[in-house]
């Protein structure tokens, strides 16, 4: 549905995007992940036709974004990062305006407005002046503007920023509901969000696409860090060797903590079946003190940092 090929964007001497290629299939939700200034917004602006690329092509459906801009734009609903709104319009008015210029038929406009008001949970502010809305409502009105024409493709730049936790969940549910029906590209710097909503993740760093895959595959790609962190009070050497005896533990590294005779142990498991109770029992049987035990999930956060670090190392 969306095909991006060798996209490069230069602002003068600064290269914002370098040779980025990826594809989003119909009904897929792609998460754009990257630190600030990575080039996510630039990429989205090019895909929506707001900025022309320096080189490379973007194809939306069967159309090229530069040659058939109008056809492409008709298929896209876009929420820019800055959430631009007409402050001096009433919410309902603004949605009607966008419905009209997006080409919604006159007889369908009222239905489209009602549906969008409901989906974005902004029915109770529909007659308010946009200027008076809180950040959370503004964000949702922005999302409503993108959704009003029931577009096949949604490009959402940081869609949940500024929302409270409950609203975030609602909006995530809404976007996740599009899976299979609409093609979505969303960017975020909140990693768990991307992992919850998206089928596929593209990690972008310093203008380059450094990885794109499902979360599972990305996890496999990332280096293994510690799986378990333990804080134990007792003789450091004995504890280390006792831990190493367990057949499911691959490596143990220990670090002094800020409490005397208490050490932090970072444990890496191997592939054998793990038994965490056994570890607590071990500590108890030797009458050491277990202060804490904390499993480390191999979350997206770590994958991300890992991939970025590896990328930096490869460049150095």
């Amino acid at each position: 549905m969306i095909k991006v090929q060798n996209l490069t964007k230069q602002y003068g001497k600064f290269t914002a995007l370098k040779d980025v290629s990826f594809e989003v299939k119909k009904g897929e939700i792609l998460g754009f992940l990257g630190p600030n200034g990575a080039g996510k917004t630039t990429a989205m602006r090019i895909i929506t036709g707001f900025l022309p690329p320096t080189s490379g092509t973007v194809t939306i459906g069967d159309y090229d974004i530069m040659d058939n801009s109008i056809e492409c734009r008709r298929m896209i609903g876009y929420l820019p990062e800055t959430v631009p709104l007409y402050d001096d319009l009433i919410v309902r008015e603004s949605l009607k305006f966008y419905a009209r210029i997006k080409g919604v038929l006159s007889k369908d406009i009222n239905n489209a407005v009602e549906r969008t008001l409901h989906d974005c949970r902004i029915e109770d502010v529909q007659n308010k002046l946009i200027r008076t809305l809180s950040k959370g409502y503004r964000q949702r009105v922005g999302l409503a503007q993108a959704l009003i024409s029931n577009p096949e493709i949604l490009i959402l730049d940081e869609p949940t920023i500024g929302l409270d936790p409950k609203q975030i969940i609602e909006i995530r549910e809404l976007i996740r509901g599009f899976s299979g029906k609409r093609t979505v590209i969303l960017s975020s710097h909140i990693l768990p969000e991307v992992s919850v909503i998206c089928n596929r993740i593209a990690i972008i760093h310093k203008g380059q696409l450094i990885a794109q895959d499902s979360e599972e595959n990305l996890t496999r790609l990332a280096q293994k860090g510690p799986n378990l962190l333990m804080k134990i009070k007792g003789p450091n050497k004995n504890i280390t060797s006792a831990l190493m005896e367990k057949n499911f533990i691959k490596t143990v590294t220990s670090d002094k903590s800020n409490i005397p005779s208490v050490y932090d142990y970072s444990i890496v498991f191997n592939d054998s079946p793990k038994n965490r109770q056994e570890l607590s029992k071990l500590v108890f049987d030797n009458s050491w003190d277990l202060l804490s035990m904390e499993p480390v999930s191999s979350g997206l956060e770590r994958i991300f940092i890992d991939l970025v670090n590896r990328y930096e190392e490869a460049r150095a």
Partner: protein, 264 residues
């Protein structure tokens, strides 16, 4: 056409929901009303002088169109020169500042539709001003039983000139607004540019060179003067139509280059 209409309605709504439209109409009415009153006084004085000079049997040498309406139209045009930059300053600058231009440029709209919608919306603000001017003259003639004959044709030609002049001001203002995201810069530059085109013919009054003639032809004021006198000529009409078209086309291409340069 539907797109132009949608933009037009939205713009008109914004002009009046921010009060700027009402305020500009009010300022125009207040100032031109004051000038009208002032000129009627002068006219009355001239009439009194004529009556007391003992030429009772003679022909009243003053024509109200010539001595009142023509100057009043001149004054009104100067007031437009002041207020129109304030109307046009927000048209594109505000959209650039708030980022809504990004929504416009990624909507299935052509640039010319955006420009025309905005242009026509601002032009619409002139409608109440013209209606007011006509009402003012009707009121004046109905109130006074002085046997003055208003030559309506001449006055209406003057008003047509005022609309064309306003349309030219707006076209230039929109163009300048499309180049900056700062509304104050937009208003000041528009005002400066309009003033220069307005007065550029003055310096050539005593010049007989070809260059002086060119300046006279460029000057907005020169072409408007003829309309204010009640003279409708092809060359003056073409001048205004070309002026408006030229700046609207420049605006459309300015939007195109904004897209190529990117914003900020």
């Amino acid at each position: 056409m539907k797109n132009i209409l949608s933009i037009y309605k939205k713009e008109l709504r914004l002009i009046f929901s921010t009060w700027i439209g009402y305020i500009i109409i009010a300022v125009f009415i207040a100032l031109t009303g004051y000038f009208f009153q002032d000129m009627v006084d002068q006219f009355a004085r001239l009439t009194a002088q004529f009556l007391s000079s003992g030429q009772r049997g003679g022909v009243f040498p003053y024509n109200i169109n010539d001595i009142l309406f023509r100057y009043w139209l001149g004054n009104s045009s100067v007031i437009l020169l002041f207020v129109i930059p304030l109307l046009t300053m927000r048209s594109f600058s505000e959209e650039k500042k708030s980022g809504t231009i990004e929504m416009m440029m990624t909507s299935p709209l052509r640039h010319y539709q955006l420009v025309l919608g905005k242009y026509l919306a601002i032009l619409t603000v002139l409608v109440p001003l013209i209606i007011y001017s006509i009402l003012l003259v009707i009121y004046f003639t109905a109130l006074n039983d002085v046997p003055v004959t208003v030559q309506w044709g001449l006055f209406l030609v003057g008003l047509l000139g005022l609309v064309l002049l306003g349309g030219a001001f707006i076209a230039l203002g929109i163009f300048i607004s499309s180049m900056t995201e700062n509304q104050i810069i937009s208003a000041l530059t528009t005002f400066g540019a309009l003033l220069i085109i307005w007065v550029i013919g003055w310096s050539s009054v005593y010049s007989s060179t070809g260059f002086g003639e060119i300046l006279r032809r460029i000057s907005l004021n020169n072409h408007y003067e003829n309309f204010a006198k009640g003279v409708i000529s092809l060359s003056d009409s073409i001048y205004f139509i070309l002026f408006i078209t030229f700046f609207l086309i420049l605006t459309v291409s300015s939007l195109g280059t904004t897209r190529w340069r990117g914003i900020k």
